[in-house]
Symmetry: C2
């Protein structure tokens, strides 16, 4: 069924009253698919405002993982009402999913999975899928189980379809299977799916027994959300729960003020440094002219290093052991960058100030670039090692450290060059 | 077949000699899959160094879109050699794919697609797929064609499998299908696939005729590359073609120096501004203490606005017409943020300087936050409207404009408050 992205996009933006009205104007069979395609935010608003019978119907038609996600968002009273409206089986499945930790693979999987046994023939397996696969999340990836329910391998529907009917499944299955633990972080599982180019992967418990399936569309949603969150956090902001036009100014402020406060408090370090060198500044006021240029360049060079290293870690090219090698490479890069910029930077410096100040600015540019690349490359690696998200801490930490130390370097060099 | 991510990750990092050696040590049947899983960079290095017969074999076993991508990377002589090694059919298909513009959907699609007709029965369609689908990229999404080859709809293999054999395909197909034009930008098509949660979509020419299929694993790769590129560009750096440990310092410098130069030249604007206010600075040197704190806060607030707006545009929540509304909302947010920060910022200012300077700093914080949110929110929307990638221009443009105007605001306010 075609899901009209424009419909969901415009629903996301609507006020509560218009949302309910517009939703009721959708042709009957589409309501379910549009509801499915909405985020938990607008879903929650709809559930609270639609007639109870309708809410209950829409809720029951969701996939168990989407049900669990919606239950997290609605008030407790609504959540109980929704749960009690389900039949016993659906309720149990929903509660099982909701019982996995937040952001775990169990939370994103579907428990509706059809599996086959290694000893059955391809023809029998195909008949089994036809008979029992109607409600399965996918029939394209079939876990192959041993009698204890442990996953031995997987076989694709395609493989079954193209095999001679009498071939045993065990002979055509792929083994070992790429299976993901239910307790594993969703993003890690989604990346594994993407790396192996799979349509779906079996989800297993700690004993290796099949408990569900993670499909590629869930993996894509997980990775897209993770990307959004990383970008928002990299800029010191929390991701928004609702569509932008539906987010109040107060919510925007709340999502941002925390980081701004942290950063402004960290920035008082630069006030400290400049305060310490106030006599030098008073003697040669022209030195102040180059402060924004120098710390700006340091920030930019540091951000470039950090971005490159974060990416290299994400694709597995760089690990914790590589710290010295990576920093050495980045510092060398910083040295070349700094020397190049010094040649360029000396021109405005010579234009606005005298030769000795121009020399101090150029020399500082070199040292600041080396410093920035070192801090920019080391921070994400160390952050990962101590278990902090590199995307979150890199930018503020780098700018704070590089700004403050860069200014110290600048004034020390200036004092030396100018003989103060 | 399980693709060991660790194997490809370690191959990516190796020097040319070790790469060939390690590749030869892989068990025979795995070489093909490992080769497939590598990026074009290491693929290209392998093709240039393996015995010709081996290169030619590996090349022939790639999917046509992967072949086209590799042809872009290798020297012209190698490219001709590889092409001439293919049989006539494979060569024609490869050249067709290579003929589509870079980054178009045609470049990422597979031309190996099996389709069915609307008038055939589900049972016949299934038999047709079994007979002709062996080399198809996917058999799970089957385009349904009219006699002219135009796409009428799609039917999933699952639907066919669960339908009564005599049902006409036209009765069980989904129509209209989510199909993507071969000339359309890859990223747009990949996003459409993700939004509609599809395993694959038919790729059509300008007349709506089927020319290939775009699968979800290609869509995931496209989106992952696009994400990587956006992040790299947002930090003013070009994405790397090779694994980080394989990238030389010179290449790192080349990927970064351009932006740093642009930014440092733009930063001379701040030198200009401070030069203009040098007399004020000379009179009250303490004013210089707060320059990094003020422009840093402006940059942070601007980056938060830009990130939020870029995201809102990406998910379709904000369009060009929303410019005034968005800027108004951001400016209001900026005002609240600025007022909050002013209360906090006044403390260090009062500690390091006298009350009137503290007042000037606090007042400037408010104006700079308003300014930064306005520039930060307007820049991505305007950039999109004039056809420039918001992720590329936002950060440097915002920091340059906000830094320079922020300093002007600060000194004008200081002059007024201090009566200079």
């Amino acid at each position: 069924v075609l899901i009209d992205r424009d419909v969901t996009a415009s629903l996301r933006r609507m006020s509560d009253e218009r949302l309910v009205e517009a939703f009721h104007q959708l042709p009957g069979p589409r309501t379910r698919h549009v509801f499915e395609a909405l985020d938990a935010g607008p879903q929650c608003r709809l559930v609270g405002r639609l007639p109870q019978r309708e809410s209950v119907d829409l809720f029951a038609q969701l996939q168990p993982d989407d049900r669990a996600r919606l239950l997290d968002e609605v008030p407790a009273a609504v959540s109980e009402q929704l749960l009690s409206s389900l039949d016993a089986d659906a309720r149990e499945i929903t509660l099982t999913i909701a019982g996995y930790p937040h952001r775990s693979t169990g939370r994103a999987m579907s428990p509706n999975v059809v599996s086959v046994t290694a000893t059955s023939s391809a023809g029998d397996a195909l008949r089994h899928v036809r008979r029992h696969g109607a409600t399965a999340e996918t029939v394209y990836m079939l876990p192959v189980l041993d009698p204890d329910g442990a996953v031995l391998g997987v076989v694709s529907l395609r493989r079954l379809l193209f095999s001679e009917p009498e071939t045993p499944v065990g002979r055509v299955m792929s083994s070992p299977a790429v299976s993901v633990p239910a307790s594993q972080d969703q993003e890690v599982s989604a990346r594994a799916l993407r790396a192996a180019r799979l349509i779906a992967a079996p989800v297993v418990d700690s004993a290796g027994r099949l408990v569900g399936v993670l499909t590629v569309d869930d993996a894509m949603r997980i990775l897209s959300d993770a990307e959004h969150e990383d970008v928002a956090r990299g800029a010191g902001s929390r991701p928004l729960h609702e569509a932008y036009p539906r987010t109040s100014v107060l919510e925007l402020v709340r999502a941002r003020i925390g980081w701004l406060l942290v950063l402004i408090i960290a920035a008082t370090l630069t006030v400290n440094v400049l305060d310490y060198f106030e006599d030098t500044l008073a003697e040669v006021v022209t030195l102040a002219l180059f402060v924004p240029l120098l710390i700006g360049t340091g920030g930019n060079a540091g951000a470039q290093s950090a971005t490159t290293v974060v990416r290299a870690m994400a694709v597995g090219d760089v690990g914790g052991r590589d710290l010295p090698r990576v920093v050495l490479r980045e510092v060398t890069t910083g040295l070349v960058l700094g020397l190049t910029l010094a040649v360029v930077g000396v021109v405005p410096a010579a234009f606005f100030a005298d030769a000795s100040i121009a020399a101090a600015v150029s020399l500082s540019l070199v040292v600041i670039c080396v410093l920035a690349t070192a801090v920019g490359s080391a921070t994400p690696i160390v952050a990962r090692q101590v278990g902090v998200d590199p995307a979150v801490v890199s930018a503020p930490l780098i700018s704070t450290v590089v700004d403050a130390t860069g200014l110290i370097v600048y004034f020390l060099i200036a004092q030396a060059v100018l003989g103060l």
